[in-house]
Amino acid sequence: MNREKLLLERPLTGAMRPDGRPLDIKEYEDTGGYQALRKALTMTPKEVQEEVKKSNLRGRGGAGFPTGLKWATMAPVEDQRRPRYLIANADEMEPGTFKDRILLEGNPHQLIEGIIITSYAIQADIAYIFLRWEYNVSKHVLQKAVLEAKEKGYIRENILNSGYSLDVIVHVSAGRYICGEETALLSALEGRRALPRPRPPHATLVGLWGRPTVVDNAETLCNVSHIMKNGADWFKGLGRTSDGGTKMYGVTGKVKHPGAWELPMGTPVREILETHAGGMADGYKFRALIPGGASTEFILEEHLDVNMDYDSLQKVGSRMGTGTMVVLDDKTCPVGFVLNLERFFSRESCGWCTPCREGLWWTERLLDAIENGKGEPEDLETLQSLTGTMGIGRTFCVLAPGAMEPLQSALKYFREDFEKHITGNRCPWR
């Protein structure tokens, strides 16, 4: 397939090098890079927003909020508070998720062009790329790419004589999961303790340093230049269900080919699992999977024909989240699987609100006891009630409710396994 056709079908990854090395600015421009920026700068910011709104691009960080709608809530320019900010959330720390890393390392300019166009649309003065601390390779790649873009005049005062000015700064996080939460990210960026903030008001009114701010996921922003270049209708046509565009999907676990693939939004789970990941590895049978990183509910064999998009998975009691799946095979203990996740969540709790700070600790202690043959029958009831105590709205942010999603569905689907641990005083898998 020729390059242009590939880019129309796989816009995010189509231009990437097979060896995984990042495209430098010349290579990026050869694939048509920075054309979309030129086009956008001839439109008004409002017009750019309209196009993205029309495309129905939804946030790829896991929540799926319509991006155009978020931009529209940005405080109007008449509100004199400046600077205005755009933040690219590249703090990818959801366990099982590695899709943004591929985009950052493989095609940094794709993100940067998306950032500049988006900043123009919302009239931001400064853009930050908030990068996960562990992503050391991405840091070097992005910093180099930002320099290249500056040298070429894409990031500067009066870009391409449009009258629009922007500065882009790569900021490396000090390294905690909670920083990926939009409002905790703002606190961290300000140099404060990374605690989330209440809502309302939203960051688009009072954000970074109290100024109007939009925070978008890195993958979301990578789509923007393509939407501007090829149009909203093209984007909408890419998906297999009502959501438009492509999605970076991933699979890890005991499958033949773990990895990541850019596929049309709404590709059925089974297709991703079997056609692209090659199905289960030899000697392993499928039991369940969590579709979107650690904070999502298990789905079973019977659910595999569901489409991987924002709305379809909700019907089977789960969420698409980040779209990177973790597979549970028959030779892996589900209690141990969930314990590993809860250990992470408990450690990553910021410690601000009571249910998360204490509840996740208790959850971890209970699962640890059960996994190590020290569980008591009442423990399951306690765990069940904890999933309620840490429900949405009862905690300050969604870290704990997310942590409860795999636990709550494991208690539903694997209750017998839990009970065997308790009555047998040991883990049957070890």
Binding site: P198, S349, R357
Partner: protein, 921 residues
């Protein structure tokens, strides 16, 4: 006023724009909470204040919301009693209890613990967790506060108070998830002088009063009464608590206008002088008096004592009276009545008395109005002239830290952010501050929040003040020879004060400079002429300085001159160490010239040592009376307990000693006075300015439904057992004819008038949070009136009338440094400068040793480095002092710590020589 529905019943909410938790608590609902605080507002961290919200009458499912983070809106429907939300709240307590130690039996907080109350309120009982609790290592935070981190429930109130409200930096939150830690980066004294409030702000026993620990008793065993702090002129309201004849601790007593929810560390921890070994517990008669009384020195009977006193008073010779700015109006007035106004003086140092008389004149004539601390906190443009407020009126400094948030708050409101949404108020405000200007000789703790600071000698500060007044109104006299930078600063300050809606000028007596005081008055006058309600606040050196100034009593030199001119037969000295008021030589000369020295004192000092008759008096906790604070508010304090010896007449309230003496002389005015209320009535009758003083508190005959208000809780224990070692008979509780309070457990158990509230307690609310039930609106006024009475209100003059009053024009010349002398100014210390609080061991530990402060250049010129010994010669004596470099001091100016022995009694400012060797006489 919106209507909301709580469990299907409608309620009208008084306060618009408030949060739901505040509204429900105002309505009397018992909703549990931790992280919300009426002064710190809402953050939504603890999740305990959960209620259920319903969309309409048909919604049966509802949604759990946090009431502290929910704005009150018309027709909001919630349920407090919904079973699901009750289970949720109990679940939150359960989670907090997972790691909470079983410390109640050994925890100081027990009995007034908010966590205990909330646990009972939510109904959580049974412990399900079998896992090991997380523990912490504690830190030594100094002599004032104890640190016990295992008890922490992570409500974050401590750091929010310490950092956000009080501006401290060295208490922080560390680590994350279930081992979040509140403490310092390393062990050490908490630097902020409002740290003691952590003992009340912390809902558990993490931060507790370390001084209380040394003589601990359970809270329900304390006898308490409403009192006033005597350690500075702010007049904060307190609750001292006593047991077994010993004062155990001091807690905050809420007053909407004065101290609000907080106290400073000097006021909270300065009480231990009451228990000090230097307390005088027995009357004393000197050898000289033997010829009159015929007694043997050492054994003094009341009979003998009064034989001596009545002889003295009937003798016919001149009796001088030296009052005290720390004694009550009643005691001072009784003395004045006894000796007559011509022989009475206030006992203040001469310069201080002079300045205070001027200040009282200025406040009485206006137009600048003396603000309350609450008014100070609402100011949006402030100039501090010459006062190191953190050290001379600490709670005013705390109010100023809130005042600088007022201007930025307007922007916050424009964004639609409610005032109670604490996190967002601070995010939207960022580092912006309203205008505060600090003009003082040395750097102050308020500098870091000031827009601009100005360091200069007192005369130059006065010149700045006069220049600012002139910049606001050209009718005010001009300072002609002013330099460029100063002119720019003047313009900045003038413009900020003119822009402000509530401008405030703060001055005082610290610089000992009358022109400075006049310049402050000029600024206030200039602003009032523009139609602004300008506030003019003067800090007061002592708790009743303004009271005595309003009596128009002169300073101590009046007594010295009177004794020198014509022999005085006797002098009665009321609660005053004269050696703190004048130089040693003058005091000795005066005392040596008088044959009969009667001293009424609670604590021994150099003056009591010279007494012929030493009459032990009760301290503030053992006496009652009225004090006038710097605002001009007369406030009444009540006896907390009867000290040993008082029922036998060995110790009496100072006003009581004087009443007996008045009775002996059959004084026409005061001979029949029996209670301090009688004296106050006499005072109100004779001096018009005090006409409202008797209204500062309900009179002694006041009863609530026929009952007195008990000083002891209904759980007070050991009432009969505590005296069993002396007598098995159950004695009658002491009578209190002087007030509507009783020294017993029996009496009115509800909410008495605000001035009589003896403690905060309500069923289910044993902690300080019970205060909510005593306020007509949380964070607002107490039910039953605002305690105390403002007695100074300047005449309301329209701009035309104000025009007729002249501006002050005593502009001093520019300060010129001298070659061989330095202008010594006093430097004030919250710990150390005040006489009584410095006797507390913990405060003594924190007080500085005497020093000589110089800036680095001056020190270098003299050949000193930091720590060297210098010699200064003052008032006939030589002092050796350690040099301390204070880089902010202007050239030509040196600093001496105020009130610290042996430097008390020196008259400053003063020109003094400094040398490397001991000076010749």
């Amino acid at each position: 006023m919106p209507t909301i529905f709580i469990d299907n019943r409608p309620y009208t909410v008084k306060k618009e724009g408030g949060n739901l938790l505040h509204a429900c608590l105002d309505l009397g609902f018992d909703i549990p909470y931790f992280c919300w605080h009426p002064a710190l507002h809402s953050v939504g961290a603890c999740r305990l204040c959960a209620v259920k919200q319903f969309r309409d009458e048909n919604d049966t499912r509802g949604k759990i919301i946090m009431s502290c983070m929910t704005p009150v809106t018309e027709n909001l429907r919630i349920s407090v009693d919904d079973p699901e939300v009750r289970t949720f709240r109990a679940g939150i307590i359960e989670l907090l209890m997972l790691n909470h130690p079983h410390d109640c039996p050994v925890c100081d907080e027990g009995g007034e613990c908010h966590l205990q109350d909330m646990t009972v309120m939510t109904g959580h009982v049974y412990r399900k967790s079998r896992f090991k609790k997380r523990t912490y290592r504690n830190q030594d935070l100094g002599p004032l506060l104890n640190h016990e981190m295992n008890r922490c429930i992570h409500c974050y109130r401590c750091v929010r108070f310490y950092r956000d409200y009080a501006g401290g930096r060295d208490l922080g939150v560390f680590a994350s998830h279930h081992h979040v830690y509140f403490g310092r980066h390393e062990d050490g004294l908490l630097q902020n002088v409002f740290s003691g409030n952590l003992a009340e702000v912390c809902p558990t026993g993490v931060f507790t009063d370390k001084t209380f620990k040394r003589h601990y008793t359970r809270t329900w065993d304390l006898q308490t009464a409403p009192s006033i702090c005597v350690h500075c002129g702010a007049g904060c309201n307190t609750f001292p608590g006593e047991r077994y004849g010993k004062l155990r601790r001091v807690r905050n007593r809420y007053h909407e206008e004065v101290n609000g929810y907080f106290l400073c560390d000097r006021g909270r921890f300065g009480y231990e002088f009451v228990n000090h070994s230097r307390r005088i517990r027995q009357p004393f008669l000197s050898r000289r008096t033997e010829k009159i009384t015929g007694h043997q020195e050492g054994t003094v009977t009341t009979e003998g004592l009064f034989k001596y006193l009545s002889h003295l008073l009937h003798f016919g010779g001149k009796v001088l009276g030296i009052g005290s700015p720390t004694a009550s109006l009643e005691a001072n007035y009784a003395l004045r009545t006894l000796v007559g106004p011509d022989h009475f003086c206030s006992g203040m140092s001469e310069s201080e008395a002079d300045l205070l008389l001027e200040i009282s004149r200025i406040l009485r004539s206006g137009p600048g109005r003396s603000p309350s601390l609450r008014d100070v906190a609402m100011s949006d443009g402030v100039l501090v002239l010459g006062e190191d407020v953190i050290n001379t009126a600490p709670m005013m400094a705390l109010a100023l830290k809130q005042a600088v948030k007022n201007r930025p708050m307007e922007k916050v409101k424009d964004l639609g952010i409610p005032e109670w949404n604490d996190a967002f108020v601070r995010i939207a405000m960022q580092d912006e501050k309203g205008p505060l200007f600090v003009a003082t000789p040395d750097s102050t703790g308020l500098d870091e929040i000031a827009k601009e600071v100005f360091r200069a000698a007192p005369d130059d500060l006065a010149r700045l003040g006069f220049a600012v007044a002139n910049a606001i109104d050209t009718d005010a006299p001009e300072v002609t020879d002013i330099n460029g930078p100063l002119r720019a600063l003047t313009a900045t300050i003038a413009s900020a004060l003119k822009d402000a809606k509530y401008p405030l000028i703060i001055c005082g007596t610290s610089c000992g400079n009358k022109a400075l005081i006049h310049s402050a008055a000029n600024i206030a006058r200039a602003l009032c002429k523009t139609g602004k309600p300008a506030s003019l606040s003067f800090t007061m050196p002592e708790c009743n300085s303004l009271g005595l100034a309003l009596m128009e009593a002169k300073g101590i030199r009046k007594a010295f001159k009177s004794a020198a001119k014509e022999k005085a037969e006797a002098v009665v000295i009321l609660e005053n160490d004269l050696f703190r008021r004048a130089d040693e030589e003058s005091v000795n000369r005066f005392l040596d010239s008088i044959a009969n020295i009667v001293v009424i004192a609670s604590v021994s000092n150099r003056t009591t040592e010279k007494a012929d008759a030493l009459l032990p008096c009760g301290t503030f906790a053992e006496s009652s009376g009225t004090l006038v604070n710097n605002e001009g508010r007369a406030q009444h304090f009540f006896r907390v307990f009867v000290p040993e010896g008082m029922s036998e007449g060995k110790i009496m309230e100072s006003w009581n000693w004087l009443c007996r003496m008045l009775a002996v002389t059959e004084n026409t005015r005061g001979g029949t006075w029996k209670t301090d209320h009688d004296i106050a009535a006499g005072l109100a009758d004779e001096l018009e300015i005090f006409k409202h003083v008797p209204n500062a508190a309900p009179p002694p005959e006041f009863r609530e439904t026929g009952q007195k208000v008990p000083r002891e809780t209904h759980r007070f224990s050991g009432r009969t057992a505590m005296l069993a070692n002396k007598t098995v008979h159950e004695p009658k509780p002491s009578d209190d004819p002087d007030s509507p309070l009783s020294f017993s457990m029996e009496g009115f158990g509800g909410r008495p008038p605000a001035a009589l509230i003896p403690r905060y307690w309500s069923p289910g609310w044993n902690s300080v949070q019970a205060l909510n039930k005593f306020q007509s609106e949380i964070g607002g006024p107490l039910r039953g009136g605002v305690p105390g009475q403002r007695i100074i209100e300047p005449k309301q003059l329209g701009p035309a009338k104000i025009n007729k009053e002249p501006f002050f024009d005593d502009i001093p010349g520019a300060f010129n440094a001298r070659k061989d002398e330095w202008l010594f100014v006093p430097l004030f210390h919250i710990f150390g400068s005040e006489e009584l609080s410095s006797m507390s061991p913990s405060i003594e530990e924190l007080s500085p040793k005497p020093y000589l402060a110089l800036n680095a250049d001056e020190a270098q010129k003299l050949g000193f480095t930091d720590g060297d010994v210098a010699y200064v010669y003052l008032a006939g004596k030589s002092y050796s002092l350690q040099v301390r470099i204070r880089s902010a001091l202007p050239p030509g100016v040196a600093g001496l710590p105020f009130g610290i022995p042996p430097l008390e009694g020196l008259s400053l400012p003063s020109w003094v020589r400094i040398s490397k060797e001991e000076a010749a006489g």
